[in-house]
Symmetry: C2
Subunit: 499 residues, 2 copies
């Protein structure tokens, strides 16, 4: 770095790159530790691992908030940078701000509070114990309000927008209100129409199958979807996730002998995340601009794979063949469609189909906005939840908070602002699909022949390889000619579920 | 740490403990990275992992050589410490000296040279290319001589003793010369006697078996040997090893369908290492005094399991049953004895039985001493090797350097001083066994009943739980009433192979 400072025309920028590369190396170890903890580590390892991971997190925080780094950001802005370097500097600023904006005391306080709240919640949820949960959540929300206030002030954003920005840089309430407001005008009715249409569907038979057979099926489908096994693995964990690093992406699934479809489709979902990571620009590996664009864009890829691709008739034809081959079953394409395209309003978000899913998100979005601007109090949450569920999905959660406002881990751990990413992802996926069809023509006939290379190449070229070189709006506009437009999602649902 | 400095009577010692705990946390991540690389990591992950591990190694080195830490060692020596704290301080001094004694430039030079030498050696060994290997090895040896010189000067040791001390604190050439000198007076003749006695042994049939069946056998035997699966795992790697951390010990083996015994006995060997690690004193976890005593003591435990225990008639009876159960074979105890107690002089150290093994070590010990005191030159190595092999095992390696002086990875990577630990371990194992029999009586009849708890408890109490609280000589004297005495090893071999 010192040598560079003398020789290079951009010494400050170069020093920042070296610093972020160093941070990236420690984050590599963090990703490995997280993955191992969820897949391999025996229970006796948890104390030692916990201490080591806390030490590592502290070290990364120290590196991210080093005064030299913060000072360098201003100095590098004065240097003659290329467009890509400028984009990298923009991302560096973003990550540094996220790391430095909050006082250490508040961060520590939040860690302790959310740890206690989450720990108690695990039992309280089982016990449907809202009264026990409520005071803990109130403390967490009070702290998150403070966090949002501070983050908003330093960024010139409203408090809730500042929370959205933690996961979705550039995402603002104004835009979300518009998008979700529109969704709300047609989605509840559409759900009823779809249900009416599917009323005659017979209950599809689900073949029982051993975990080893399901795993072989998953690996085969991963291969079909171009997962690079030289750059990743599939393992088992109690909650499926995608982890690791771009050159070594570790995805997981779980197995239930009575339900191969959940394992298969969760694997396909994670493959979407994985291919995005595997496709990120190698030249920028280790730099902030080389990272995936945002959580919504990440979800757009996993949902493109899981929903757009793997629930399309063409792919269902391919999958039926593979399922029958590996599981020794005799499913028909029609019965697989009945299995994976069935729309059923339910209380639990993570079990929801793609049509009802946005209702779960809109509800949480309204709650979070209200909690942060204080128009909603924690005490009123159960009633608000019940009302919204009635209006959106025609279901009641009165007295059933375990399946209502206590169902998600996000709030106990103080993670407000994340939920919208899920539905933004679904909408972006539909929008990308529409543009892809314009560019490539009839995708289904390609897929039917088992040729998904063109589909993958399009995603790779337009999205994966772009990393964070553009902002989300810039990228989406470059790829689709417009910013987020929920009409594509609506058309997708109409075409799949009502035509 | 700052608070402690004001409140504690031993502020400098406390600060050192905190520093070493921190180092331990990063070493935890290092152990995880190493294990993952050998067992799980896909090939595409190697570049990113290599960079992350190099960053981590640099960080650990920075922590180990921090000026505050070095200064603290002297200051802590003036504080009123308990005996255990003093032992911890002694171990801290040892580790700090190992990390700080060498100039950074020399360390970097060695890393680069040995990396190149090892890389070329992998092909040169296959090609039996001594002339290609020789100049590389000469460069490595020149640097190791320099390293030994410096390490010796700062510790007041001869250069080769300084190398021995890297792995075996307190181990000196004077003692080794005596031990190996004595071994040499009787071992070559004993090998001939054993061979004569075994001449009539029929070739034992080796059942073929799938890796999955061998794995089930290994897991079952691990359970029998008290391996704690809440604190560890068994996985597969191309070279078996024991890694991880005390609360989470990761051992590995490999599978060959035509040779279950190698997998089984290598697993048992690693379980010896693992139980030592799992039994280290929890109260001292993360501190230098909580680490295993030395490499020879570590080998003493793995060899106690592999040789003393698992090749004893009582254990062979138990193992025969388990083998037949898992592999569906019909081995007799006698045929298993013929399989795992056969003594055959051979060229390759890692394939050697316990009777001929020390010959391989004595040869290497003489080579290393000669190379470091310059009485032997690299150019003369093949001839020296051939002469020694003829005198020790009656075998020639003339023109066959690939199976002679080029067979081990240790010298290409510049690791001189390690080899003696293997044979010291075998001798310590025999000495511990003799003391155990004095204390517990007839161990074999306990084992025959599948009750090895008393054996394990004895090892745990006398060795594992002692960590590094005593020096090796102190510990061995405490347990056996004398320092290393090769007579126990001789008696063990006589009893097993000649009685």
């Amino acid at each position: 770095m010192t040598a560079n400072k003398q020789d290079s025309a951009t010494p400050h920028y170069d020093a920042l790159c070296a610093a972020f590369k160093q941070i990236h190396h420690f984050q590599h170890l963090q990703a490995l530790g997280d993955w191992d903890q969820a897949t391999m580590m025996p229970s006796g390892g948890s104390q030692g691992r916990g201490e080591a991971m806390a030490e590592l997190a502290l070290h990364i925080h120290t590196l991210k908030t080093a005064p030299g780094l913060v000072d360098g950001l201003a100095a590098a802005g004065e240097e003659a940078l290329t467009a890509s370097q400028k984009a990298n500097l923009r991302e560096m600023r973003y990550h540094t701000l996220q790391a430095t904006a909050l006082p250490g005391e508040l961060v520590q306080q939040k860690t302790a509070l959310t740890y206690a709240c989450e720990h108690a919640w695990r039992q309280q949820r089982k016990d449907n114990d809202w009264q026990g949960f409520r005071p803990n959540l109130e403390k967490v929300i009070a702290l998150v309000r403070e966090e949002a206030q501070i983050l908003g002030e330093v960024q010139g954003l409203s408090p809730y927008d500042a929370l959205l920005n933690k996961f979705e840089p550039g995402c603002q309430t104004a835009a979300l209100d518009k998008v979700f407001g529109e969704l709300r005008t047609w989605l509840p009715e559409m759900i009823q129409q779809v249900q009416a249409k599917q009323q005659s569907w017979p209950l599809a038979p689900v073949p029982h199958s051993k975990a080893s057979a399901q795993q072989a099926l998953n690996l085969d489908v991963m291969k079909l979807l171009g997962f690079d096994f030289n750059q990743g693995r599939l393992d088992t964990s109690s909650h499926p996730f995608s982890g690791g690093v771009p050159g070594d992406v570790r995805i997981t699934t779980r197995y239930d002998e009575a339900d191969f479809a959940t394992s298969l489709y969760s694997t396909i979902h994670e493959v979407g995340h994985a291919r995005y990571e595997q496709g990120l620009p190698i030249d920028w590996r280790g730099q902030p601009v080389g990272l995936a664009r945002s959580m919504a864009l990440h979800e757009s890829q996993s949902l493109f794979f899981e929903m757009q691709l793997a629930r399309s008739p063409a792919m269902i034809a391919l999958l039926t063949e593979k399922i029958n081959h590996h599981l020794g079953s005799q499913l028909t394409q029609e019965s697989l469609i009945h299995l994976v395209q069935r729309v059923t309003p339910g209380l639990i978000r993570v079990d929801a189909d793609e049509v009802t899913y946005p209702c779960h998100i809109m509800l949480r979005y309204e709650v979070e906005k209200g909690l942060i601007d204080k128009s909603l109090q924690v005490a009123d949450l159960p009633e608000f939840w019940d009302n919204q569920m009635q209006s959106l999905l025609g279901l009641s959660t009165r007295g059933d908070d375990r399946n209502g406002c206590m169902q998600d881990i996000h709030w106990p751990v103080g993670e407000l602002g994340y939920f919208p990413s899920y539905s933004l992802g679904a909408m972006y996926a539909a929008q990308f699909k529409a543009s892809m069809v314009k560019a490539l023509g009839d995708i289904d006939s390609l897929i039917e022949q088992g040729n998904i290379t063109q589909v993958m190449d399009w995603l790779n070229q337009n999205i994966w390889s772009q990393g964070s070189l553009l902002t989300t709006d810039e990228l989406v506009t470059q790829v689709t000619g417009e910013v987020l437009n929920p009409v594509h999602f609506k058309r997708h649902l109409e075409q799949r579920y009502l035509s």
